[in-house]
């Protein structure tokens, strides 16, 4: 095992040895089953809400509510709520070493700072991927188990119906794509984490940027049109794109590419900041 691989391994050990890492996993394990049980019991209300715009256009018999539909709706947490679990770890991973003084034992090893910071960055993505896929697995798995399987109705410029067999691979793609979208948030929190020795700052800072960016991206003001391409939240809807027919792979690739550029910029700034940093704590 090369020293760099060892660095990544130990960064993962550190991440998964902290209780804060499990806040996200724990919340998912509590909330998702609760939602599924509630939907199973009161699902018709959600269904009526979802189909309101189509009432009068056509009649439907029976219920379209199933685990896949609920999972689909649950993906909306990825916009603004779920990033909290990402920044909780990404904002802490560098700052906490400064706060606890452990840089003094870590950076006096025969490892370059580039290796250390890159190891931390990769470990952050592994965590991000793990928790996003965990949400997908629990949401879809428990959705089918508690509410039931069946066809997925997607209301996207009309109604699209996917069989369960068609929907499951799209969920997988959607969550993989969402991991990149979440990592954009993670990379920003990571950058802020290299600037400070307190994890609270990066968490608040990242959320401030996300909220301001969302506001700027939804305001219908002509003057703001020009800056929208430079806001990473503009590309956050990419995780719903796999539920189009046919799957617009090119559009997904372009949006992921743009998010990738943001991630690279945040990573590069983190590297420069970390390499130049004086460790005074």
């Amino acid at each position: 095992m090369t020293p760099f691989i060892k660095t990544i391994r130990w960064e993962l050990v550190k991440i998964f040895s902290k209780w804060r890492t499990y806040i996200g996993f724990g919340t998912i394990l509590i909330l998702v089953p609760l939602i599924m049980v509630l939907v199973r019991k009161y699902g018709i209300d959600i269904e009526n809400e979802a189909l309101r715009s189509f009432q009068g256009a056509f009649d439907y018999i029976g219920s379209v509510t199933n685990g896949l539909l609920v999972s689909y709706f649950l993906m909306n947490v990825l916009w603004i709520h779920f990033p909290f679990f990402i920044v909780l770890v990404a904002g802490d991973i560098v700052a906490s070493e400064g706060a606890s003084g452990t840089f003094r034992i870590l950076l006096t090893r025969p490892l370059s700072r580039f290796e250390v910071i890159t190891g931390k960055f990769i470990a952050t993505y592994v965590y991000t991927l793990a928790i996003v896929l965990f949400l997908g697995l629990v949401s879809v798995g428990l959705g089918i188990a508690i509410v039931g399987g069946g066809d997925l109705l997607v209301f996207n410029k009309g109604i699209l119906i996917f069989s369960q067999g068609e929907a499951l691979p799209r969920f997988l793609i959607a969550y993989l794509v969402a991991s990149v979208m979440q990592m954009t948030v993670g990379a920003l929190a990571f950058l802020f984490s290299t600037w400070t020795s307190n994890a609270v700052g990066p968490i608040i800072g990242t959320y401030a940027v996300i909220v301001v960016s969302y506001i700027l991206s939804v305001l219908q003001i002509d003057a703001l049109q020009a800056i929208r391409p430079y806001l990473f939240v503009t590309y956050f809807n990419v995780f719903f794109v796999p539920f189009n027919v046919p799957v617009p792979w090119r559009m997904i690739a372009v949006q992921l590419g743009k998010l990738g550029i943001f991630i690279l910029i945040f990573y590069a700034l983190s590297v420069v900041s970390f390499i130049r940093k004086d460790i005074k704590t």
């Binding site: 020293p3 060892k6 660095t7 130990w10 050990v13 550190k14 040895s17 902290k18 209780w19 606890s100 003084g101 452990t102 840089f103 003094r104 034992i105 870590l106 950076l107 006096t108 090893r109 025969p110 490892l111 370059s112 700072r113 290796e115 130049r276 004086d278 460790i279 005074k280």
Partner: protein
């Protein structure tokens, strides 16, 4: 030359923490790096270990400029920089495993060995958050020794240790240098500790070297090493001391003799007093870096 600094300087804002520091440390030396709090000791160590970048000047480690060597040079150095901080949520064993792995790979046997040296074997599987300060200090020394480095840099290594622990660490430092040929860079503000351990010293203040050289020569010349002697008959003891020409100075304060002698002469003094019929109740070495430092500053001002 193991360590050589040439005009090493570091400025934080408008303050020079270290200014034109020139140090030379040869292989096998136990080098005492002394100075009052805020003198620039830790900043110097941080620069040696690559934690802080010098504002100007050069650091040579093992004969080569540190900038040409990269991080690989730290395979040859073990360091305890300031207070011993660890990953509190991991056990001591796991911490050492992590640090050993990142130092190029350390066997479990070696981890057990260093834990044995610092007397932490029985608590090796406990999380570090449950450790006392003294235990963390010993773990800090263990991690510095872990990869069997040629140069060991220790910043206040006996801080927080009990008397037994202090003696063990002092003995360990001497053994590492004498029996294993290690070079030790020992930062401390305790002159007494340095007197007992180091072969060479440098004293810095306000970021600049005040004095540097062989410990025996420098400390022997100092007027600020006092041995307090508590005896039953102060007058008789005072007469004996006045008769001994090798005693530089003696005075009585609060029924206690304060004698200026080098540590090697303490047994001779006790012997003379006892032979002269004086019962010696206590012998207490008192040294003050601040006093010694002030003496140096005063003499340089004159």
């Amino acid at each position: 030359m193991i360590i050589k600094t040439i005009n090493l300087s570091k400025k934080f804002g408008k303050i020079w923490a270290v200014r034109d520091l020139n140090l030379e440390i040869d292989a096998g030396q136990i080098f005492g790096f002394l100075g009052p709090n805020g003198a620039g000791k830790s900043t110097t160590i941080r620069m040696l270990m690559g934690l802080v970048k010098p504002s100007r000047g050069t650091i040579e480690l093992f004969g080569r400029d540190i900038r040409q060597q990269g991080a690989g040079v730290y395979r040859r150095i073990g360091a305890l920089v300031e207070k011993p901080d660890f990953y509190l949520y991991l056990s001591a064993w796991r911490n050492l495993q992590l640090l050993g792995d990142l130092s190029g790979g350390i066997s479990s046997q070696r981890i057990a060995e260093v834990l044995e040296i610092v007397r932490l074997s029985e608590r090796a599987r406990d999380k570090v958050k449950n450790y006392s300060h003294g235990m963390r200090q010993r773990l800090g020394i263990a991690q510095a020794l872990l990869h069997d480095p040629e140069l060991i840099i220790l910043d206040e290594p006996t801080s927080g240790l009990d008397p037994v622990g202090i003696k063990e660490i002092r003995d360990l430092i001497v053994t590492l240098a004498r029996d294993f040929g290690k070079t030790i860079f020992l930062s401390s503000h305790l002159l007494h500790e340095v007197e007992q351990t180091c072969t060479h010293i440098a004293i810095i203040d306000r970021g600049m070297v005040v004095v540097q050289g062989e410990a025996r020569r420098l400390l022997g010349a100092s007027d600020y090493f006092v041995t307090e002697i508590v005896v039953d008959d102060v007058e008789k003891a005072l007469r004996i001391c006045h008769d001994s020409q090798w005693i530089k100075k003696v005075e009585v304060k609060d029924r206690t003799l304060k004698v200026q002698i080098i540590s090697a002469d303490r047994p001779n003094l006790v012997k003379d007093l006892v032979t002269g019929g004086v019962a010696v109740q206590a012998v207490i070495p008192r040294t003050s870096l601040e006093d010694y430092y002030l003496s140096l500053v005063q003499s340089s001002d004159l």
